[in-house]
Assembly symmetry: D2
Homo-oligomer: 337 residues x 4
């Protein structure tokens, strides 16, 4: 950390802050510049210290030098992690494809979709049974019945299942029916849920909240990793910006940026990331070109009659074409898909 | 709702969509314009319909006309709601002031702070016992012990207590010790928590998520209201924007905007809304001038040694001055504070 | 500046960067931490250096310590600047009020409005003659004829004039008719315009661009100050965020933040800052409470028939009420308005 | 347009607004819904009407149905435009690549770079002679001398030149030395400049401002098209969001979104769009996969010693690798590059 003192900070204030740094178990190093004095605080960073120092007398600001996440960091584990969950492999040169409807609506729908997306090349099936909905008056999912339908789809097709878990107390139930626990964007900082998921044996797909910084995303992952569960995939699904022509803004630079910072694999969601069916194929292709380790795509047999998210779902034919395009790009980049 | 067809939409597509509108229980009304055909869908709006129509053939977009929230709406209940919880009154001309430390640290700290903020004019005491923290390595709060200390501060001072609840299963315990359950910004869309809080008898302070639209905030409130709990206060605590010189951007236009839309009272949090002690007094005053029904302000006996949020906490003297300034403004505006 | 090296940066890279720092005329100071090496670069900052160092081998990032603006800085001139232009005084305890229509539409309109806003307490008249419009098909202003009408309004009422100048070649003409040259938000980084305005004798109202950081705003002011014109007022008129219920988000924390950083006075524009007439009065009052040195407000005799911005203009009665409210707040805060 | 009346709007208000719609030359059509009355205003839209209606009595809001841009619209000209400027072809299946340094620094630098980027596959040379810089103390470009060096690079290599023009009065001079006039992001709404550029015979590269909506970008293009210059390329170079780990957020969904809306070709700038050299290659590849018609990339012989933007410039080898990767993707997508 670097403690930057205000212009005109007194000698006493500098001494006080240098002593505070030492009290916190760090070594202080005072540098008197032409217009400012700064105090370098040397040692392993502990998170609470920045806050403590920032309210000291004569302090202008505190600049952190070390990233606050540890287990997720590429500095700790340089080689990329490949997450394996049933038929799904994500990372280290293999692109996993998770496809299926927003909501599980009935058994015929989910099983037919599973067969079709598998035939097109998907390696896992997505489908929501517990649905977090913005409005209390919207369809909230089939819940346990939906989970059972997902289990049946897995038996029939062998596809790994990815489904969302909304609350700590549901983790054991959901874990019985799924290969991957999805933590939704709205729950990215639901720490109680992260802690319980961190004790599960299931792999986890952790979605970035629409206003979360990359640091906050990695610290949320850190809650799971710290609980002992190392099978974590990060998911970029779009952020909230002033742009209104897409539901969210999909910042694909997240992919190479995260690859530089963490060993965890990255999955891109072009469905939520754009919010419009006609934008999904090109953005799926772009994600592959940007180096993503996985895709999660909403596919519905009949989007016009979907119970949720029809406006951003692909139909079977559109999904097949998207897969073909993505596979071509993956091939020329030397990736397996 | 207005269904806007694409330029060049065929007669068949228009007929199909008009029929879809009717199937959904609405009356359709086709208007053929110079360059576009639009279909007005008349009737009470139900939330899932917009999605359904938006994926229809030849549809460019669907424009909602009615707001999706109901119970929170000023159209349903025109007169403003005053929330009363122990010593705290918020709304309908009375400004409530909730003050206290970010975290409960020990009994002496919280009881002394309670006495001091009460003397300065606060009508409720805040203090965190369960702390949601960005990093798993940060101080997570004293939990049940912290709640007990809050209870003791209430006994000693008579101040109502406001404290955060992080998970559905904690609601009964927290409710024993508090007058107001705070739902934090990170949990604004933790729907399971909203449902459980909606069944509580405690008043609720619902904080806006930093990327939440006003519609999403009101729909989150709707989850609580729909559960039967009508004592809901909305809290503006800043949004995430490109501005980095404040921790969040505090958009005070939220206050008159919400007053126009909902009967629920509005509380402003200038501490989180700025993230810097020296900006809090002016923004508290500005919130009062903008018409806020309440303030929630972090106050700590010794910010430099606070276990969390010291950089945005006022000390006693700063709080007293802020109260004095706010009271003067409330007085000239004819408000009680 | 602090040059932060990557983890694993080699000794050679550190030596190379230390030497680069010296080549740039700064003193280097290498600090070897537990996990990172940083190089403090001591001396007066020159702006281009940060870029140069950031692309060096083994460098993770460069942290600037000194602000890049100088003449605008409170460190250089601690006492607040009061800008005086005809009847308008802004800053150092005096709140100036600039009011009038978005566009000058005809002589009767502008002269009547001038009389009415003066009677209500405005100290300057605004009115656009050269109008920057998003669409080429919108009304572009009366141009020179509009300027002449403003001159006549000034003769009749004695009010100082504030009007926008859009291009360097128009500065001499506009300066003949106005007391304050307004540089619009879209032109905040039109450096050629800033340079020419910097050579004018007129005072300047520099509006913040909707995506400009405070640092960029102050550096734009620096272009004008550096040209020799010291009569610069900064104007906060709202930033672009994800919020769509207001046209822009008005971040009033800008006011105390800028007061801490610069001696230049701050004017708030609640009309553009909200985009809705009914939000303007409360936000004008909030701006005064936040400590603004001035207000600029759109007032039109008949907003429904305004040629531009009717939706955010006050009529005379609304303006009078707004002034009364603001004056009360200014009074209790000890300000002159 | 749809005029949405407030709940409780009176019969008189509805009649008044219907009459206003007719006065504006549109046909009105009143629809009385269950909870709201709306008035459809039928006819060709004229831009100023929305504003006028929005301030009418009893009006809640006005919903535009038609896009405000015309000449740029795909509805007017369905087939894609290919812009040809010397050696550069952009659009209609051909991907143009513009490469070169941020600033022209000296003749040797620009000519060597021209040869190298041409050898790697670039079809035009970029290089700044007039440099808009955030700080007045930064290097402002070699101006006319820089333009002459670009002319010489064109003679030597045959590459088309792309360079920025900052002010209306510079257009004739810059046009003598360049094939494409670049309008920078800061000048996207410098309407005087757009008008003059619209009268030039040079092709134009119009960069999106970092807070501009797509509609604003297309209306800026409309200023140029309306002036008679049809050779306009739109450039996505990143928007300003809360993300701080990249200098701007590059929203690649702009590419398919614009292709759906306009016939004008789209160029992506991954250098400014990320702000970090190491992110450029993957984002260039992603842009090609997303369907871009062109790339503009900063390349410098020695980024560490560049006079500007070194931190986001590629060196020759990095550029060659980027081109190779992009070409492979273009090939499998059936594009010429």
């Amino acid at each position: 950390m670097i403690v930057v003192m205000q212009k005109g900070a007194t000698r006493d204030q500098v001494d006080h802050m240098a002593q505070r740094v030492e009290e916190l178990g760090l070594k202080s190093h005072v540098i008197i510049g032409a217009e400012r004095t700064v105090i370098a605080a040397i040692g392993e960073k502990r998170d609470y210290m920045r806050d403590a120092l920032e309210s000291g007398p004569g302090v202008e600001r505190v600049v952190p030098i070390l990233a606050p996440f540890k287990v997720a960091s590429r500095e700790v584990k340089p080689e990329p992690t490949q997450v394996v969950a049933g038929s799904l492999r994500v990372g280290a040169g293999t692109i996993g494809v998770i496809a299926g409807p927003c909501s599980v609506e009935n058994e015929a729908q989910i099983i037919e979709t599973a067969h079709r997306v598998k035939a097109a090349g998907a390696t896992a099936l997505r489908g929501g049974a517990f649905k977090p909905r913005t409005s209390p008056y919207s369809f909230q999912g089939l819940k346990e019945k939906g989970l059972e339908m997902l289990s049946r789809a897995r038996e029939e097709t062998g596809l790994a299942i990815v489904t969302e878990v909304m609350a700590p107390e549901d983790v054991p139930l959901v874990a019985q029916h799924t290969d991957v626990l999805q933590v939704g964007a709205r729950n990215m900082q639901n720490y109680r849920l992260l802690e319980v998921v961190g004790q599960s044996k299931c792999a986890v797909l952790l979605k970035r909240g629409p206003a979360a910084t990359i640091e906050e995303l990695l610290l949320a992952a850190e809650y799971i990793l710290d609980g002992g569960n190392k099978n974590v995939m990060l998911c970029e699904r779009g952020i909230r910006t002033f742009e209104a022509h897409t539901r969210f803004t999909l910042p694909l630079a997240t992919v190479p940026y995260l690859h530089n910072l963490t060993h965890l694999p990255i999955v891109v969601d072009p469905s939520h990331g754009t919010g419009h069916t006609y934008l999904v194929p090109d953005m799926a292709a772009a994600a592959v070109a940007a180096g993503t380790d996985g895709l999660i795509i909403e596919v519905h047999p009949d989007p016009e009659h979907a119970m949720s998210d029809g406006y951003q779902s692909l139909d079977y034919r559109q999904f097949e074409e998207t897969m073909e395009k993505c596979r071509k790009i993956a091939n020329v980049l030397g990736k397996t898909m």
